[in-house]
Each structure stands twice: as structure tokens, then as C-alpha cells.
């Protein structure tokens, strides 16, 4: 941890600045001064401040510049500041704040280095530190990669500690007291004789006081908020219908729009007939887009009806027409040059020269994100400036894309990030913001909310890529002596970066993510990635490459264990090379009472996946009933290094597991005539309450650094379920979704 921290300290310097009626605390940045979003007139060329805390007459506001998409990030980030500031979370305001490159995510690229998370060698640590440089240079304010907590853990606590130190100095002046005799408590400074000064009252004085360069952080033993479950700051609004998602934004004289775009993704539009649509109730305008139309109306319903009534002449798609052809394109990637080979231990070719004991092929389908809130945004174009309200995971990218569309400077665009009705990677895409901006540009002066129908949302996603795995393995006296694993998929990096107008260089590590770097010692072991052409647009889907590779890899490990005649738990423990990982596997074995006799028809399956630096072990228990398979129980153990909010970590695991199980059981995106066949929740469903298993979670803290937990719960769910189905029925399923091969009891 030391090296990365030193690099952070060199480029970030704590500071404060006066604002109307108060003071903001954050970091000065000298080398690449990104604009400070909260200071109105920073002097040209001067260093600027990235604020995390604002204290004024209204009290304390904490800026949590990451997307709140359900993962509880606003609560955990605010708790980091509040902990050091000695103030309760119920006494602060928490704001996402404006888009700013200064809120870049320094930890976002750490997962993309060709070093396993278990590799703590000086070279690996050096390279991880270096990834912070492009992260800063690009200034990407991005929520993803389970990186928000590790990115913020030091910088946000330091901001809180610096603010507290300055408030103590201010109070010492105000009270004529010795600073060392003062203490802080619940948002006030308290003197030995019991006088108190609220932080708000000290703010004007605090604005002129020098901020300590490197304030001390509380030792963990003194934490009052961190390490303990906090009530979420967004819970009350979300349980009373008062939380504002972008679909809820209301502005005076606002109009409502929807889009209808080419069902053959990427294809253009030859022409359209809007005569019927224009005469329909409530319709105000029809806006042509490059690949479709937007209808603007006085009510979203009228817009939806009119968009459906349009007749449009579509251009064809550039990709193959049906899903089998897409799989063939992926399979043909195995015939070409490989994209990556980050792991090549021993001599796999020699070990397998006399043939494999076990070989096979696995498949995973395209998947949609299907967030509960269909994608939407409000945009308002007036006086050469744009205001955008959108639940989104990449505000600085939204600014960039909107400015380009409107042909204005980026400082004329303001992005207001609301709560997200689900993200899972979908809202790191900018397509829904661009359509809203295009509609606004055609309706100058009028705020317009552009909401995609569920059908448009599902058929115009950037999908989790389909993927194929091939393996050949050799067993030697109850252990794996050779494993040759080849993985092929369209490149998420290539597809995603092309939409960001950024080049991709080198191999796409997501193709082999959580397959090449697992802490198993196999003497002859090779993991090779093959890049298939991008056909449908593909993107990050909760846990990215680990979402399919966890299934491939851990199903294969289970196959090997059974072929070797070993218990899957013992088989893993004997291969394991990492003690932190051993801890979670042993914990989940105890939690699930692994090895205990099961009643007839029941089966337990285990899976272990190290993703985003988090070793995660899950056990699924199923029962085979006359109505089909039912998932009864899931046990999970994870190690996040430092657990800041145990109840929220539990929630993220419950979420990640149900998300992974839903996809594994029933989800796939397929094509026919180049059109997506799934359009709504009747044919792209997810687990319902009646089908959702009991879930028990244990959180460990043996890892060497703090980790994020939004994604790691998902990858082990599919293989643990597949391995449980094998244990219960003897049927090995090598293709997702499982419902293609086995019946599930999905009755409510």
C-alpha cells in the first residue's frame, strides 16, 4: 500500500478556499489544474481546489462525487469525511456535486494491469501506482470497477481531518483558548469549560486559516462511524417516493420526448413518414436523429404512442443476422492470433502431448443491463448553454459529448447527476444523454425530458458480450497437472473506447479477467485470450469479464475435482496459493456446513472467484423437485480488507448474488433478422421474490488493502449454481442460461 500512497501524496495537497458565507476543503492540484467546480472565478493559472467539504451558514455539506446507483456509495463516502470531522451523518447534507475532471477516479485502471491482485511484488505495485497517472490525465469522473471506496478511502478522510484541524484553530481564536485543550463532538468544538461553537458559526473565520499539509487520521480503534453499519443517507427519500431520479425531474414548461431507433443497431435511417404521428394528441415535434426519430409531446404517453405510429425505412445492420452466426464469429477467433497470454506456467503443450483427460467448451450469451429505470435524461438548451439532468456514471464524459454535439465549450455544459435507478454499467454509456441533447438542441429554450421506452432500452443496450471458453486438462494423482484455457469474446475495451473517441492499445484484459489471475497453483497452466470482432455494441456489465469467466473457470475447476474423485472443497484448498483466499473458502465451507449429509434431491455447489481484488466464495444449495430446480440457499464469504459498513456490504452481496443467479438461470439476448428478440420483462426477466433464495454472508478483513464490493458478489453465483445442479442431478451444463438445459421451478 505504501508506494501507491506516496504517489497520491505527491500530487495532492490539502487546502481550503473561501466561498460565499463559508469555506470549502479539498485538494489543491498544481500540475494539471482542472477547473474547480465550486469556485466561481478561479484565477487563471492558479492552482484550484477540489472540494469534498463545504461549511457555511447552512451547516456541513459533504460532496460525494460518485454515482449512487444503489451500492450505498454516498453513505460510505460521506462517512469517511464525517468520521474525521466528528459529525453525525444525520447532521450533514450529502451532494453528488457537479461534473469535474478534478473528481477523477484514480483507482479505476488498477484492475486493468497484467498483475494478479495477489501479486504484491514491487513491480506490480509500481505499475498499479503508474495507472493513476493516465487516470488523472484523462480526468475521468467515473463510477465503476468497484473502485469508489479504495479511491476515496485516504483522500476523503484527509479532507475531513484537515477541515477539523482548521475548525479547531478557528475556535481557539474565537474562544481565546489553547487549541490543544479543545475537542470536537457532533459538529461543534467544545472547550474545557463547556463552551461550544458550531462548525457553521466558525466557517467565516476558518476560511482564512492555513490547512495542515498532512493531518493525522484517526486510528481505527477510534472510529465511531466507519467499521459500523450506518443508516443510508438515501433510505428515507427512497422509501417515501421523494428521491429524485432523472426521470422524476420537473421543470417549468417542460416537454416529454421518446425515441425510436433502428432495431438493427448501428444501422441508419433512409427516411420516415411522420404525418400520422404529427396529427396525434399531444404531439409537438418530430426530431430526426441519425438512426431514428424522437417524438416530443406534452406527455410521455403521447410521445410513446406517436413514436409507435411512425413508419420508418431502416438501413440494414453491419453485423450477422442471427445469434448462431455471432457465436460462429467468436469461435473463429480461436483460429487467429491470440490477444493476450498473461499466464503461461510450466509447459502446457508438453503436458498435454498425449491428449487431455478432460476437455470441453463453454458458452455465455449476450446480456442486457435492464436497469429498473429505463434510460432517460432531461436537457435544456438556452442562451448557448446546456443543462443536463441524468442519472449517469460518467459526468465528465457527458459534458464532453454534449459540448461536442452542441458545438460549444465544455464550460457551457452543466451536468446534474441525480440518483440512478440502477446502473450495472449501463449508465457509463452516453447514448441516452446524447439523444436527450439532440432533442433539446431542436427545441431551443424548452426543457425536454427524453425517456426511452422499456423496449427501446432493452433493444438498444451496449450488451455484456457473448463468450466461448475451451479447455483441455490433465489430472495426476487427484490433482490438476495441466490446464489449457482459451477464452474468446468481442472486446469490451474496443467497443467502449470507440464510443469515447479514445484509442485502445494492447490486449483487452477483460477477455481473460478473473480467469488468468486466479490463485490456483497448477504446474502447467496457460490462459489465452482471443479477440472476436465487435458486432453488437458491448460494454461493462456488473463485474465485466469476470461475469462470464467466473462461470467458465469455476465450472471447469468443479469438473476437474469430480474427475479427480476429490471433494470440490478439498480440491480447491490443495491448489490454493493465497492465504486470504483460503480464508474465504474455509469460511464459506463452515457457513454452509459443507460436507454435511443432504436430503434426497438436494445438491450443493461451490465457486470461488477473485475479482476486483476481492476473494469471494459462494455455496449454492438447490433441490430438484417435480416442478424443476429451486434455489434454496446461498452462503457467501468475502474479504474486503477493511469493512467500512458491514450491513451495506451484506446488501451488495445479496444484490450481486441475485443479479448473477438471475442471469445464470434465465437471461439471454438473442437476435433474429439482426433484431434483438427480447424487448421487455416478459421475455427478459429476473428472479422474483418467490424464487429468491435465503442468503447468508460473512465478511472477512484479512486482505492487505481496502476493496470495493459492488461487483465481486456476481461472478461466483453462476458457477456455484451450475455446480449445485451437477451435485443434485448429475447433469453438467456448459452453457448459459441454464434454463436452456434444465427446468426451473419459477412459480410464484
Amino acid at each position: 500500500m505504501g508506494r501507491a500512497l506516496k504517489i497520491t501524496r505527491r500530487v495532492l495537497l490539502l487546502g481550503s478556499a473561501a466561498v460565499a458565507g463559508g469555506v470549502v476543503f479539498g485538494y489543491w492540484r498544481y500540475k494539471t489544474p482542472h477547473d474547480n467546480p465550486l469556485l466561481e472565478n478561479p484565477q487563471a493559472g492558479e492552482a484550484v481546489l477540489t472540494p469534498y467539504v463545504r461549511i457555511d451558514a447552512a451547516g456541513v455539506t459533504i460532496i460525494t462525487p460518485r454515482a449512487e446507483m444503489g451500492q450505498g456509495v454516498h453513505t460510505t463516502l460521506a462517512a469517511m469525511v464525517a468520521e474525521e470531522l466528528d459529525i453525525g451523518l444525520d447532521s450533514v447534507r450529502v451532494e453528488h456535486g457537479p461534473a469535474s475532471k478534478a473528481y477523477f477516479n484514480a483507482a479505476i485502471f488498477e484492475e486493468a494491469v497484467p498483475f494478479a491482485a495477489t501479486d504484491l511484488s514491487p513491480v506490480a505495485e509500481r505499475v498499479r501506482g503508474v495507472t493513476r497517472v493516465p487516470a488523472k490525465f484523462l480526468g475521468m469522473q467515473l463510477t465503476g470497477g468497484s473502485s469508489s471506496t479504495p479511491d476515496a478511502f485516504v483522500k476523503m478522510r484527509k479532507a475531513g481531518a484537515a477541515a477539523r484541524d482548521v475548525l479547531l484553530t478557528a475556535a481557539a481564536e474565537a474562544l481565546g483558548a489553547d487549541k490543544a485543550s479543545l475537542r470536537t463532538e457532533s459538529g461543534t468544538v467544545v472547550s474545557p469549560d463547556g463552551q461550544t461553537r458550531s462548525y457553521a458559526s466558525l466557517a467565516p473565520l476558518a476560511a482564512g486559516i492555513t490547512v495542515p499539509r498532512d493531518p493525522e487520521l484517526k486510528p481505527r480503534s477510534e472510529w465511531k462511524l466507519l467499521g459500523r453499519s450506518q443508516p443510508r443517507v438515501d433510505m428515507l427519500p427512497k422509501c417515501t417516493g421523494t428521491a429524485e431520479f432523472s426521470i422524476d425531474v420537473r421543470l417549468e414548461n417542460m416537454l416529454y420526448a421518446t425515441v425510436r431507433r433502428n432495431p438493427r443497431l448501428g444501422g441508419g435511417m433512409r427516411g420516415f413518414d411522420d404525418s400520422a404521428a404529427r396529427s396525434m394528441t399531444g404531439v409537438k415535434d418530430v426530431v430526426p436523429l441519425a438512426d431514428g426519430v424522437a417524438v416530443v409531446a406534452s406527455n410521455t404517453w403521447y410521445a410513446l404512442q406517436a413514436a409507435r405510429a411512425m413508419s420508418i425505412d431502416w438501413e440494414p445492420a453491419a453485423y450477422p443476422e442471427d445469434i448462431e452466426q455471432h457465436f460462429l464469429a467468436v469461435l473463429s477467433a480461436f483460429e487467429g492470433d491470440y490477444d493476450s497470454r498473461f499466464h503461461d506456467e510450466g509447459n502446457v503443450d508438453a503436458a498435454l502431448i498425449e491428449g487431455a483427460d478432460l476437455e470441453g467448451e463453454y458458452r455465455a450469451p449476450y446480456l442486457a443491463h435492464a436497469t429498473m429505470e429505463p434510460v432517460n435524461a432531461v436537457a435544456w438548451w438556452r442562451d448557448g448553454e446546456l443543462d443536463i439532468w441524468a442519472g449517469n456514471q460518467a459526468p465528465t464524459q457527458a459534458v464532453k459529448d454534449a459540448a461536442a454535439l452542441a458545438d460549444i465549450d465544455e464550460d457551457k455544459v452543466r451536468v446534474h447527476t441525480t440518483y440512478l435507478g440502477g446502473g450495472f454499467g449501463r449508465r457509463a454509456e452516453m447514448d441516452f444523454i446524447k439523444t436527450a441533447v439532440a432533442v433539446a438542441l431542436a427545441n431551443e429554450g424548452i426543457p425536454v425530458k427524453t425517456t426511452w421506452s422499456r423496449e427501446e432500452d432493452m433493444t438498444h443496450d451496449a450488451y455484456r458480450p457473448l463468450a466461448v471458453a475451451r479447455f483441455r486438462a490433465k489430472l495426476d494423482e487427484e490433482a490438476a497437472s495441466a490446464l489449457d484455457l482459451s477464452l474468446a469474446a468481442p472486446s469490451v475495451f474496443e467497443s467502449q473506447f470507440s464510443r469515447l473517441d479514445m484509442p485502445t492499445m494492447g490486449p483487452d484484459i477483460s477477455i481473460v479477467q478473473s480467469a488468468w489471475d486466479q490463485p490456483y497453483g497448477i504446474p502447467n497452466h496457460r490462459v489465452t485470450g482471443y479477440r472476436a470482432p465487435v458486432m453488437l455494441p458491448v460494454s461493462s456489465w456488473r463485474s465485466v469479464g469476470a461475469s462470464q469467466n467466473g462461470f467458465f473457470h469455476e465450472s471447469i475447476v468443479d469438473e476437474l475435482a469430480h474427475a479427480a474423485g476429490k471433494d470440490p472443497l478439498d480440491f480447491r484448498l490443495e491448489m490454493l496459493t493465497d492465504e486470504v483466499s483460503r480464508g474465504v473458502i474455509e469460511a464459506v465451507a463452515t457457513l454452509s456446513d459443507w460436507g454435511a449429509p443432504l436430503s434426497p434431491g438436494r445438491g450443493k455447489g461451490m465457486a470461488f472467484v477473485l475479482s476486483f481484488g476481492v476473494p469471494t466464495a459462494e455455496v449454492v444449495e438447490v433441490v430438484d423437485t417435480p416442478n424443476g430446480i429451486r434455489v434454496l440457499n446461498v452462503w457467501a464469504a468475502v474479504d474486503v480488507g477493511t469493512a467500512l459498513d458491514p450491513k451495506n456490504i451484506e446488501a451488495q452481496l445479496q444484490s450481486g448474488i441475485n443479479f448473477g443467479l438471475s442471469a445464470a438461470i434465465m437471461s439471454e439476448i438473442t437476435l433474429s433478422n439482426a433484431e434483438i428478440e427480447q424487448s421487455n420483462f416478459h421475455n427478459y426477466d429476473a428472479l422474483r421474490l418467490a424464487q429468491a433464495p435465503n442468503i447468508e454472508v460473512q465478511v472477512l478483513e484479512n486482505g492487505h488493502r481496502i476493496r470495493g464490493i459492488g461487483e465481486p458478489g456476481t461472478p461466483p453465483a453462476a458457477p456455484a449454481l451450475g455446480n449445485a445442479i451437477f451435485a443434485a442431478t448429475g447433469q453438467r451444463i456448459r452453457e448459459l442460461p441454464f434454463k436452456r438445459h434444465v427446468r426451473f421451478d419459477l412459480a410464484s
Binding site: 443510508r232 438515501d234 417515501t240 422499456r454 446488501a651 429476473a686
Partner: protein, 152 residues
């Protein structure tokens, strides 16, 4: 057209085939009920009509007979309904988008079935989809809300 929502009378001038959801959201500015699917498959739009849970995304506004209650009318941040209080206590919500619908379905269930079994909870709430997978806490919160309501 006249609509009584959360105890207040409203006049809406819309096509009678417009689903209640869009009259509430875009005409009256009542945004607690959410658009999720438009085909009664996800439950995010659930409101009460005379106490009964209905999917407002497929209910034509002209056919609404009775008083409409939305999440905003069930309880407020200052004065929570027992179901909302249980939801807060159990820390159910994640992204939160489906929760107004979940809560309205649960409140309608408990109004008629004060001590529901797990099977009854399953039947009443399985029309409400949650992509964040908050189901374990939803189940706990329904039981907790039932206990609260029995004490009231």
C-alpha cells in the same frame, strides 16, 4: 376528467386511454409511481385504488373508479406509514427505483392480511421486480411491518 389522488381532487384534461401512471407523473407531477415496463410486468408503477394494489401503467385513466393513493399519500418522511418505517429499519432500498411499488404492494397485502405467511407474501409481491435483488430484506421488512401494524 376528475381524479382524487392522496385526498386531493384534480381535474386532468387528457385522452381517456392514457394510463393512470402518465396522468399522475406528467400531468399532476406525482412522481413516486415509476415507469418500468408499461406492460404490468415489473410493478414499479403500483398504486392503490380504493386500497387495492393496481398497476397504473396499464390502467386507463378513464376507467379509474375510486380514490387513488400513491407512495406520497401512504406516508411522508415526517410521518411514515408502518410499511415505510419497516423498510427504513431493515435498510431495504438500494437503487430505490422499484421500492415505491414494492411498498404499495406490501401495504395493500397487510391491510387485508395482517399476519401473512411467506407464501402469501410471495404471491402479493412477486409481480414487483427488483433488479438490485433486495428480496431478503423485502421479506424481512414485510414481516416487521406486519408486527408494527398489529401493534398499532
Amino acid at each position: 376528467m376528475k381524479l382524487k389522488v392522496n385526498g386531493r381532487d384534480h381535474e386532468v384534461d387528457v385522452d381517456g386511454s392514457m394510463p393512470l401512471l402518465w396522468a399522475l407523473r406528467d400531468e399532476l407531477g406525482i412522481t413516486g409511481p415509476k415507469y418500468g415496463c408499461g406492460i404490468a410486468m415489473c410493478g414499479a408503477c403500483t398504486v392503490h385504488v380504493d386500497g387495492r394494489a393496481v398497476r397504473s401503467c396499464v390502467l386507463p385513466v378513464a376507467s379509474v373508479q375510486g380514490e387513488v393513493t400513491t407512495i406520497e399519500g401512504l406516508g411522508t418522511p415526517e410521518s411514515l406509514h408502518a410499511v415505510q418505517a419497516a423498510w427504513v429499519e431493515e435498510q431495504v432500498a438500494q437503487c430505490g427505483y422499484c421500492q415505491p411499488g414494492q411498498i404499495m404492494s406490501a401495504a395493500a397485502l397487510l391491510a387485508g392480511t395482517p399476519s401473512p405467511s411467506d407464501a402469501e407474501i410471495d404471491r402479493a409481491l412477486s409481480g414487483n421486480l427488483c433488479r438490485c435483488g433486495t428480496y431478503p430484506r423485502i421479506r424481512a421488512a414485510v414481516h416487521s411491518a406486519a408486527a408494527r401494524l398489529r401493534e398499532e
